[in-house]
Symmetry: C2
Subunit: 344 residues, 2 copies
Amino acid sequence: MPATIYDVAALAGVSIKSVSRVLNREPNVSAALQAKVQDAVNSLDYRPSLSARTLAGSSSYLIAAFVDADLTLEHWRSGRGSDYLSRLQFGALVECRKAGYHLLVELVDYGASSLEARLSALLRSLRPDGVLLTPPNADDPTVLDILERNGTPFVRLGADRDLGRGMRVFMDDRKAAADMTAHLIGLGHRRIGFVSGPAAYPASQARRLGYEEALSAHDLITEPELIVEGDFTFASGQRAGKALLTSTRRPSAIFASNDDMALGVLNAAASLGVSTPGGVSVCGFDDTPSAMFSTPPLTTVRQPVAEMAAAATRMLLEAARDPARTVKKIDYTLVERASTQPPG
Amino acid sequence: MPATIYDVAALAGVSIKSVSRVLNREPNVSAALQAKVQDAVNSLDYRPSLSARTLAGSSSYLIAAFVDADLTLEHWRSGRGSDYLSRLQFGALVECRKAGYHLLVELVDYGASSLEARLSALLRSLRPDGVLLTPPNADDPTVLDILERNGTPFVRLGADRDLGRGMRVFMDDRKAAADMTAHLIGLGHRRIGFVSGPAAYPASQARRLGYEEALSAHDLITEPELIVEGDFTFASGQRAGKALLTSTRRPSAIFASNDDMALGVLNAAASLGVSTPGGVSVCGFDDTPSAMFSTPPLTTVRQPVAEMAAAATRMLLEAARDPARTVKKIDYTLVERASTQPPG
DNA sequence: GTGAAAGCGCTAACAC
DNA sequence: GTGTTAGCGCTTTCAC
């Protein structure tokens, strides 16, 4: 049997409360006691039981990430993997580890009628000290309600609207898209196609607004036929690319609002015999792994998901001691690779 | 405050033990009692506390996946993401969800001297009901020792050697590599380059053996200059591709033993002006998302990581009631895409 | 500065 | 079939 707090107390010749004090770095502990306890802990190789701590105390040393089940499963099933989740997990896990916390990824059926039941079940059976909310569900009022009713601190990741609820970490999608568009204009492009994402995502709207904003800032007009709606998938990028590249006045550059779609555009160009970047420049948004290894490698916006998740996790951990509503904006980076160049 | 088992018992007019019985589907419960308790549970929206159950009982409803910290962090940092982990998680999460379990992904420093301490700390503080072990650490004797000493059921994923310890889920890497090589030979290739993985991975060895086996089965000799060692990274694939394609007697096909390296070979070919598959056929191993979206899309072996993880998780859940040493072999698939064709 | 006692919300062992 | 009683291993409260 593993050692318990009683074993440690007995060996050190002190009360279990003293052991607890040392373990939790509580004030008012003499150096002598501290040393005795530490020795006993070491020699017994004692580790406190998480469940006992959770049951007795007020924290569970658990951070939960709620991700959309449908979306994630669909990503996974199609073999695309979920780069977003992967990076989120990276950032969160690293911070959790530093603080001795654990990360639990939970799939939630945001669409289901049982959503409320399942969420509150999760909150009450797990008692996480904080919750990470991912888009597009970081804006769901039902979810926010449950979390607030439960008193669980949460961070809304990638949420660009401040609803005055919970904490928030986001990046300026609109400005990033405007920057990318301006970059293309700077290269000399005048007819720039745009492949938008699904309207349900706030980020889709923001990116499109950024594109239009940059155009008008450079006295170019937004031509409706240059904008094609996709749904963030490779296939929709292919379709959009084909449509744009076979139109009568073909654009010299195409800005797809995520990398998967940009790769689709690349593929469409190749099969139409249009070279990249010679015949058409292509750029994306996100900086997924595939963007790095595509032919040609993709110019894109690096969305710092891991950094966002790390910052969010830190907020949650701090919120445990000092509840405060924090909002943080994270910087993006324009990554210039070989898929863009001045029009030929 | 959330409802407890006492609230339910009081409302139903029964003892807490009866509530517990109904909750845990224990035998010897009358239909009437069952109904009363169920009603009370529903009307109070009661959910048992995980930590209380864990503390009092013998199971924690937790499955832990131990993954190599260095490896995973390095993957993540470089922006490549970790497709392996992502798929593992998919398979495991789905099964956990079905069974009302939770999945905890823990980064473990397998190299560190503190490995033993950290592992046993994890086991004792979390008390997982089962552990998923990933390669290359599923073969680490230290890890197996700790797990066995602790009495925690574990599954060694992708471990091709049966050490008579724990459970095991794997695929036949050697045969898969042999099949792929035979496929190239069938297309008419006679000089086939091979990019191997790092020797530390058992899978590397197996894939290389499969390659050699297929060659000799078709009366072709293994030429040492056709084999270049890589380390499973894109960059090492680039180097290997360059070396093979600039050699005096250039191979007409290159089989890289994972997709990242195959993409590197593709890139090297493009920058040397060698077309794919016209000038050289290229194939990989794993079927990562990038393989699907590369130019040209990559012929590869689909390693069913998610299915393996799902099977492993099911084994762990069953092991809880009935400890048995199970071994399971999972089938792979050859995925033929555009990067291979008969030699031109 | 330290300790004793009382739970936290369950399951397990044993009555009835 | 059902209930009673002890814990599980900690933190919390309150004494000293």
